[in-house]
Amino acid sequence: MTGDNPIYSVELDNFTGPLDLLLKLIEAQQLDICDISLAKVTKDYLSSMQTLELDPHQANWFLVIASKLILVKSRALLPSSRVETEASQTDEQDLSAQLRLLSYFKNLASELSKSSDQYYARKNFKKTNLASSYDNINSQAIARAFKQLTQQPKLAQQQVFKLKRSSNIALRAELIKKLQQLQTLDLCDIGAVATTKQEKISLFMIILELIKANQAELRYGRGGQKIEMAK
């Protein structure tokens, strides 16, 4: 879009609303945010609105500002009574104040975007491999994992955690929850919830599905012998 003078051309791809568009038009003409500037950019604003493809939800916001601008411009051009002048000044000042406030928050947003350091909480870490050996898990290891799952379950008092017997969906959700709490799960403890072969196979399928969905992984535990399920 261009104004009357091609020097004042402004790219319209990067604005986030009608007030932002107004701000950019004012900046492009190197004007201050004041009533006179608003009257000056009215034509530019209206012509830019014609080129924009706005959906109905956005269009009404642009129309509200357009009507305010037309009012500002018409009052600037037409002679009016003192009372009307005072009323129009208030409208114009309101719009100018709104623009100043938005401009202020845009500057703050720009400051926020400059933030380089962030804090990481424990949940933000992708892996906590600190205690494990880093050998790749291959098909043999997966077979070993299944064997661990089907091993004779530990005595109840030796189990770190217990899963409740429930549907596969609920079991999957419980595994995710336990992983979040404990970070690593012993496959033997997981296997204790299943009593029949079919149940153990189904349980292993859940584990593989969680790995596929990147919600868990299999890895060698401390000592590199036992395979455990980790977050």
Binding site: N14, T16, G17, P18, L19, D20, H57, Q58, W61, V64, I65, Q98, L101, L102, F105, K106, L108, A109, S110, E111, L112, S113, K114, S115, S116, D117, Q118, Y119, Y120, A121, R122, K123, N124, F125, K126, K127, Q180
Partner: protein
Amino acid sequence: MNEITKKVQALIFLSAEPVSRNNIQKSLNIQNDQLDLALSELKKHTASTGIELLDDGKNLQLAACSSLLAQKDTDVVGVSTLSSSALEVLAIIAYRQPISRQDIEEIRGITAAQSLRGLIEKELIVEKRHKKAGINYLEYVTDISFLRFMGIKDLSELLDYKELA
């Protein structure tokens, strides 16, 4: 560190999620001023370590500064992932919280629904419901994740926060 401070530290450390002040008070059966004292001591202690205590006035969380760690090891939302609209809305909420959607839209002159949804999904803001004179109000405030996102320990570290809030 005194005994209460140690217990507070242990409780916050145990959870990967932010822990509310209320929960700590209930769990340790301590008063608000005792917790404040413990947190003050804990902040002094963590200042000389690789871990910082984040405190948004409601929730607490222990976190490590990005300058000490490699980005590849984390899945933290980066500043660059936010659109300019979302950043504007985030700035308005940060400095004017609690603030309603209507007030945000009045400042920006455009709907904020999409930006609000995105910021909630990224856990940078949360909805706060309250009742006043029988009317339900829905407002938005920053979440403790916002502190992590900005790399600050509390909101007062935001530029000109005290003057603007």
